[in-house]
Symmetry: C2
Subunit: 363 residues, 2 copies
């Protein structure tokens, strides 16, 4: 069995690291060869819209998946005509457009913040008028790590916000007054069997995920999140790992966005759960039975962003696990992450605070 | 940092799988390219005594180690003149000769079975006369998985035993009436810091390791084994993982042999300990601080030997971890292993029995 991954970043790299022990081989497709996946897979290079090269890649593998959700949907559909592709291209299509995503959430009864598509300055004024403020103007496509977003607190912010993002389809969302952000990662196999990990709590710094702590133990919210997540996977005919981010606002869950792939807020599962999100994604895509998603303790994951500290300074910390993606330093870039699994929530939180202080330099 | 591994079998493969997350790259040297390590490293090919090719390999990396202890000592010394080599070639030299190994054990006060070097039929008769029976005649070099060994129960077995192994240096060992076999895996870094894993109990079938259960909890034996192990690492100036196998006989430890590398009886540490033997070997060789060796529960490891069952039949077992080495089937060949980590010893032992029945077909 050979799995082809479109995109060869750290997510593809970690999929291969977890899938190679299953006896599976990996090939990856990316725009250049100097990618994190190169350590663990044969790399095919080409543009993400080069149908001819993508077809050649598809024919070299048995089944395909993604490490990046912004692969052009037309490309995803083209390779799906050659080999099975999981998750289905339809899931990418929905996830690539914030408006399509929110409409799907709403259709499935999953609460979302009030929103309106915006195509003009007048449209933004109308949206603000009907939905109220504060709010956030976002690009409908290609936003990540806080990029392509502007807050609007007062009417006079609107013009500047619109100018900053104009020229592409936008969406205005009413700001959700949330206490915390949690994410739910679940996986569905080809026969429709589903497993969910415990909810994880996420903390962002400058729009980038900085710290995840898991499990976030709330039986009621877990059940609610799983129900929403299950509906999404079902309606999309989903196979693989899907992440849904929720705000926790006044005891309710409000869906923020979904990622049709393994997700940074699930990196803790490598050491913190019986089977990692990466292995479970590979199992699902390969048509193998899903693995146990139970947490093994209380895990904290802290991202290494922008600059790479000396590994030796951290490896001396008892129980710390180091994950270097093999990428060059660049401001705001995710270069790796560290994970600690503690016996108690208190220990975990103390360790997370210590690591956060040492690793998160941006504020 | 790029580590070169001489030998590219499953041990090298698992070293790389655990070392890549540390940001380390791997290259491996073996006689051909179709090796388990090929999934995770650049492969250099050549004979193990081809000094020119080995030198080219050594110059392509920063530091060197082994996945096979029978690399010719002259080759190990040759590459040690080019780059640091850990463990030191002296450790290979000792481990390659059962007599040198036992002499070192004895010199360090580590109990061994009575033994005598044997170079002739007459020498064997003398050894039997002075040491008694039953005993085992073994080749001094290149024995593994029960190969190159013949039992001698009665005087009349001696001639046939000698004929079977004649033509190479031999050793006769008095049989140890042991209750069980345990192994101790420990690791030493470049500054002499040492960590030991808990003892593991090993069960062989037809001379091949079949099942390991860990931790084997016996505080007294653990302390005794660690003392012996520490002496060995100290006198050899050892860096990396060293495995020592002991018989437990009438409450005492009798050293059987050592392996100057990561070892099959330590595969349980991938999921069963905070830091695996593979990662700790890589850390030591790379000059990084050692990781926590604590057990995370009660682990059972069962080898997959000779024929490969369908992964899907096993992956459905809750909590099972599958490790396929990507090798072709061949009688008696280690193709992979499975690990289960249970919350209690009883659960672990039941799971181990179940797996043993399903996986160990040779008797």
């Amino acid at each position: 069995m050979r799995i082809g991954i479109v995109g060869a970043g750290q997510l593809g790299r970690m999929m291969a690291l977890s899938g190679i022990p299953l006896g599976i081989e990996f090939a990856m497709y990316d725009t250049h060869a100097g990618v994190p996946g190169a350590a663990v897979a044969e790399i095919f290079t080409g543009a993400f819209d080069d149908r001819r090269k993508l077809a050649r890649f598809a024919r070299a593998v048995d089944v395909l998946t993604f490490d990046w959700e912004n692969v052009p949907v037309a490309s995803a559909r083209a390779i799906a005509a050659i080999r099975p592709v999981w998750p289905p291209p339809r899931a990418l299509e929905v996830a690539q457009d914030r408006v399509a995503e929110k409409r799907l959430f709403r259709r499935l009864g999953i609460p979302v913040a009030p929103f309106a598509a915006v195509d003009s300055a007048a449209g933004l004024a109308r949206a603000i008028g009907s939905l109220g403020m504060p709010g956030i103007l976002k690009t409908r496509r290609l936003g990540y790590d806080g990029k392509g977003q502007v807050r609007i607190r007062r009417v006079r912010d609107a013009a500047a916000a619109y100018q900053q993002l104009a020229g592409q389809p936008l969406v205005y969302e009413r700001f959700v007054d949330f206490a915390r952000e949690v994410s739910l990662i679940g996986v569905r196999d080809r026969h429709g069997a589903v497993r969910h990990y415990p909810l994880a709590e996420n903390e962002h710094v400058a729009g980038i995920l900085a710290v995840t702590r898991a499990p976030y133990s709330d039986v009621r919210l877990q059940r609610l999140a799983e129900r929403n997540h299950r509906r999404l996977m079902h309606v999309l005919g989903y196979v693989g790992v899907l992440c849904v981010e929720f705000f926790v606002a006044h005891g309710r869950l409000v869906a923020n966005e979904m990622a049709p792939r393994v997700h940074n807020s699930g990196h803790w599962t490598i050491e913190g759960a019986v089977t990692s999100q990466f292995e479970n994604h590979v199992r699902a895509v390969a048509g193998l039975p899903l693995g146990d998603t139970r947490a093994l303790g209380h895990a904290a994951m802290v991202n290494v962003i922008g600059t790479r500290p000396r590994a030796r300074d951290f490896l001396a910390m008892p129980g710390l696990h180091w994950h270097d993606y093999g990428k060059a330093e660049r401001p705001g870039r995710k270069l790796g992450h560290v994970t600690l699994v503690a016996a108690s929530r208190g220990q975990r939180d103390r360790a997370a605070r210590r690591l956060r202080r040492r690793l998160i330099v941006q504020r």
